[in-house]
Amino acid sequence: MTGVVYTSTVVAAAEPYQVAIVDLDNGGRATVRLEGPLARIGQRVEFIEERNGVPYYRFA
C-alpha cells in the first residue's frame, strides 16, 4: 500500500515518534506510524507492516 502524507507530527516523548494521516492511493485515509524524520506534506510513503494492529509506514 502506498500514499501521500496528508499531515503528520513528531510527538516529543522519551523516544520521539511520528504519527501521520495518509491519503491512500487506492482511496481512503489511514492513521499510521511513520518512520523517519518529520515528513513533508505530500511526501510519498509506503506500508511496511502492521505491529500490534498499528500500520507502520516509511518514505517511498
Binding site: T9, V11, I41
Partner: protein
Amino acid sequence: MKPVSVTGAYQTAFGTFADKGIRGLTVEAIHGALADAKVEPGEVEAFYLGNFAGPSFVGQNHLAPYIAAAAGFAGIPATRFEAACASSGSAFFHAVQAVAAGVYQTVVVAGVEVMTTQTTPVVAEILAAAGDAQTEGAAGVTFPAVFAMIARRHMHQFGTTREQMAAVAVKNHANGTKNPKAHMKKAITIEQALAGKPVADPLTVYDCSLVSDGAAAVVITSNPGAVRVRGIAQASDHVALQDKADITTFRANRLAAAKAYSMAGVSARDILIAELHDCFTIAEIVAMEDLGFCERGQGGPYAISGATCANGERPVNLSGGLKSKGHPVGATGVAQIVALKHFLESRNAPLGLAQNLGGSGATSVVTILERVH
C-alpha cells in the same frame, strides 16, 4: 419555547485543587451560583452535570446524584453528560432545552474535572480516549498530536505561522493575569512562546492548554433575568481525524454556529465578545474562521492583528481562555458561560458568544448570550 435566563454563575479557582475533591469543588461552584441567583437548593428542579472522565481520574462514577445530594437537592433528576471537552457545554445545551420547553422552571448546570490526581502520561492517555481508540489511540496519537496535525495542515493550506499561533497564547496569558480565578496568571512574550519546550511539532507547551482541577456552575430559569440565552445549538461530527473530509475546519462548529446565529437572529458581525475553546492555539484560530469572525484561512492573520486583544474590536477569551484560565475538561463549557455573563455585564456589551469543542471537533456547542436592559 420560553425565554431562558442565566441568573446565577460561579467558577471555583482553577489550578491544583485535587484535595478539595470532585464533589467538594462542584458543591462550592453550585452554592456560589445559587447565592448569586438568590435561589435556595430546594427550588432547584433538575441537575445537569458535565464531566468527562471522573471514573478514570478519581475512580468515582454515578457523579450527578453523588454531587446533587451533597449540594442539598437529593430527590430531583440528576444526570451526567459526557462529550469530552464539551461535556458541560452539552449539559448546558440540554438543560436550556428542558427549561425552554417548560419542563422545569429552575435548574442548575455544573461542570467539573479533577485531573491533577494523575501523572502527565496517564492524563494524556485518559484524554486520548476522547479520540478514536482503535485507530488514533493505538498509533500513539495524543491530543497534542491531533492538534499538531491540524496545525500543520492549516499552515500548509493557508500559510498560517507559528508566530500567529503564539499570538493567541500571548493574548490569552495577558488576559489571564487579570482573572483572579485563572490557573496561570503569568504574562508571556512571543519569543518565550516560540522557544517553548516542543510537545508535538509545531506545537510547544505554550500552544497547549493546562491540566487543571476546577468546577463551574450556573442557575438557569424561565423567570426573567438580566442575561438571556438568545441562541444555542449543539452539533456532532466524526470522532477520528482521518474520517473528516477537511481537518482545517470543524464541521460541528459551523453547524452549531449556523443554528445558534439563526435562532438568535444575528450574525457574526453582531458578536463583539467571545469565549472560544482554545484547547490549543490553533483551535482558537480555526474557531474564529468557523464562527465567521474572519474569512476561512485568515484566522492566523486575524489572531496576530490585535483585533481579538482585550482592547481590540472583538475581544476573544477575556477570561484567559483554556490556555491561561485553565482547562478542567468537564468544567470548561459552563466556565465559559460564567465568564461570558461576567464580561457582558462588566463591559456593558449587548451580545456575546461561547464556543465549546469536544475532542477534535466531534461535538461543538455554540451559545449566544444577550444582556437584557
